[in-house]
């Protein structure tokens, strides 16, 4: 089962450390200076939106039947055997037609520098196999896990919450 980045919305403070770390990890030199120099033009791979009172990170889900893969007329966007959806390392070069930007209902593919689309490619995993965004998150709102584990974790948390309430709570 392949792992992805999941969000515990209730923990997000909207500090955008994830965005910054993502940008840095995708610069050639891996430096903050280079990331800042590119700024917006670097193309975002994840977003943090303000939804009412909630800060809501948007991350790529590496969909099973990915919309971006189906929409790519160049044959560049593909789902790697390890489950990662990316326009790098496939049969063809991305030509910057931006159909994937339009196809992604989560809005997490961007027009990148150099005329190619950029998106989460998990090319940022560290020695422990953690993505840069997850590692950078100070509140651990982002977790790198499988869907099954994530859902199980949520259920456990919900049950514990219910049990606490039933026993009078604190």
């Amino acid at each position: 089962m392949h792992r992805g980045v999941f969000v515990r919305y209730e923990r997000c403070l909207g500090c955008r450390s994830c965005q910054l770390a993502c940008a840095v990890s995708h610069t050639r030199a891996g430096t903050l200076a280079e990331a800042l120099l590119q700024g917006e033009a670097g193309g975002r791979r994840l977003f943090v939106d303000q939804v009412g009172a909630v800060k809501a990170p948007s991350v790529c889900r590496h969909c099973e039947e990915a919309y971006c893969v189906a929409a790519c007329p160049a044959g560049a966007m593909w789902k790697r055997p390890d489950g990662v959806v990316t326009n790098a390392g496939s049969l063809h070069q991305c030509v910057g037609c931006w159909m994937c930007v339009m196809a992604c209902p989560f809005g997490v593919i961007s027009r990148g520098p150099g005329g190619q689309a950029v998106k989460c490619d998990q090319e940022c995993l560290d020695g422990d196999g953690l993505p840069a965004c997850v590692k950078a998150c100070p509140t651990r709102a982002l977790v790198f896990t499988t869907m099954e584990e994530f859902e199980a974790g949520r259920r456990r948390a919900a049950l514990q919450g219910a049990a606490a309430t039933a026993s009078g709570g604190r």
Partner: protein, 432 residues
């Protein structure tokens, strides 16, 4: 063993063949034959302007790796034309008289360029841009020409114009509408794009159609416009849109309007015969109006669903957005989905421009029905998904206009799309 026959090896035909095979792959055992009058393995039609520009060769256009057809056990008849369908006897006839029997047939015959319909259209030097062969012929002709006229300010015409310009030709685009990309953009968006194209050195003439392609001793001399003006040109590309390729269907007595008519399961009026892609007419999800399909994304989706239906795995087609485009000209990216202008009462248009970027949304009864993004196309997919899902966006207009909105604003409508994890209560409440 069932016999599946697919006419057309484009986006729709390819997607259908793969869907019929499904997860079983080659082991599926069904007999799948793909016929195409183009001699090549499937390639990306959208990228052929790169061939005109001399930037891409066939390899770069191919959609599947070498050996693909064999690996999935597809039989291919490429470079062969189907000349007739005998739907009563479940047979198609090839040019050379061979008959092929089928249990299920897919018409994925695409579209062909709409003719200019003026004298001289058959002159050497007058082209349309639809196939790889067209592109190579234009590239060869461009070697000999110093100036070109492109007829039509749509996507294909403008892509052709940019390609010719890259080769150093003087290029003039003749547009009947008051602005370019009139199907994709409103006037303001179009002006931004036109400026970018003008900066590349492309000229424009508006409000005109050609009246004649003038030739002299078998050579193209130029174009005479409706108003009598003459433009010298050694090369003309006609980009006046496409018409669905329906000849086979019509002659077989299959119901056809502007395109082949299909039901929710992409079945035509003839038993066992399906249709998908540019040859079809579909209803637009926003307007409910029928129009030719004419988009890559729709062709892939319809092809896949047609394949599933043909294989007996019932998969209804919910319809699509017949306007959904992205493009970039001269460093200006463009994305547009759904309506580009209000259509009278009950519609609301809101727009915002800042730092060279223009963003417009069109609402009806609190629902998003159109979006035009020029210069900054970030989050474009969220707009398209909201339009497709008929999501209520009332109250979120500022976010929509500033691109500060994502799928999380619409958890019920969008977040579950990928079968992703449940979204928290706090977010769910946000949705109307």
């Amino acid at each position: 063993m069932r016999r599946f026959l697919i006419i057309g090896n484009g986006a729709a035909g390819l997607a259908a063949a793969e869907a019929i095979r499904g997860d079983a792959g080659r082991a599926g055992g069904d007999d799948i034959t793909i016929v195409s009058d183009e001699p090549h393995p499937a390639y990306s039609r959208c990228l052929i302007p790169g061939v005109v520009a001399g930037e891409l060769g066939f390899e770069a256009l191919s959609l599947r790796p070498p050996g693909f057809y064999g690996s999935l056990g597809f039989k291919t008849l490429f470079g062969r034309r189907v000349t007739g369908i005998d739907s009563a006897r479940h047979r198609v006839i090839l040019e050379n008289g061979t008959g092929l029997e089928y249990d299920a047939l897919l018409l994925a015959t695409g579209a062909r360029p709409a003719p200019a319909g003026v004298p001289g259209s058959e002159s050497p030097g007058v082209f349309s841009l639809r196939t790889y062969e067209d592109a190579t012929r234009i590239a060869a002709a461009a070697e000999e020409a110093s100036s070109a006229v492109v007829v039509g300010g749509g996507l294909v015409g403008l892509k052709a114009a940019v390609a010719l310009r890259k080769r150093g030709l003087k290029v003039t685009v003749v547009v009947k509408s008051p602005w370019i990309l009139s199907k994709q953009l409103d006037r303001w968006g179009a002006v931004l794009v036109q400026e970018a194209l003008a900066a590349l050195g492309i000229g424009f003439i508006f409000g005109q159609n050609p009246a004649e392609f003038a030739q002299k001793r078998g050579r193209l001399m130029g174009v005479r416009l409706e108003d009598g003006a003459r433009l010298a040109a050694g090369l003309v590309i006609v980009g006046k849109g496409v018409v669905p390729e329906v000849r086979l269907a019509r002659e077989a007595g299959i119901n056809v309007a502007a395109g082949v008519l299909v039901d929710r399961h992409l079945r035509t009026s003839a038993p066992g015969v399906y249709a998908a892609g540019d040859c079809c007419e579909v209803s637009d999800l926003v307007t409910g109006e029928r129009s030719p399909s004419a988009l890559w994304t729709l062709a892939v989706e319809q092809g896949r669903l047609a394949g599933l239906n043909m294989a007996g795995r019932a998969a209804p087609y919910e319809g699509g957005l017949t306007r959904l485009n992205t493009v970039e000209f001269g460093g200006i990216p463009v994305a547009s989905a759904g309506l580009v202008t209000a259509r009278g009462n009950g519609f609301q248009e809101l727009s915002r421009s800042a730092r060279g970027a223009y963003r417009k949304i069109i609402l009806k009864d609190g629902r998003l029905v159109g979006a035009v993004l020029v210069g900054d196309i970030s989050r474009a997919g969220v707009y398209a998904a909201l339009i497709r899902r008929r999501a209520v966006v009332e109250g979120l207009e500022p976010e929509l206009l500033s691109a500060r909105m994502g799928a999380n604003h619409f958890p019920g409508a969008l977040a579950a799309l990928a079968g992703g994890p449940a979204v928290p209560q706090a977010l769910e409440k946000m949705e109307s």
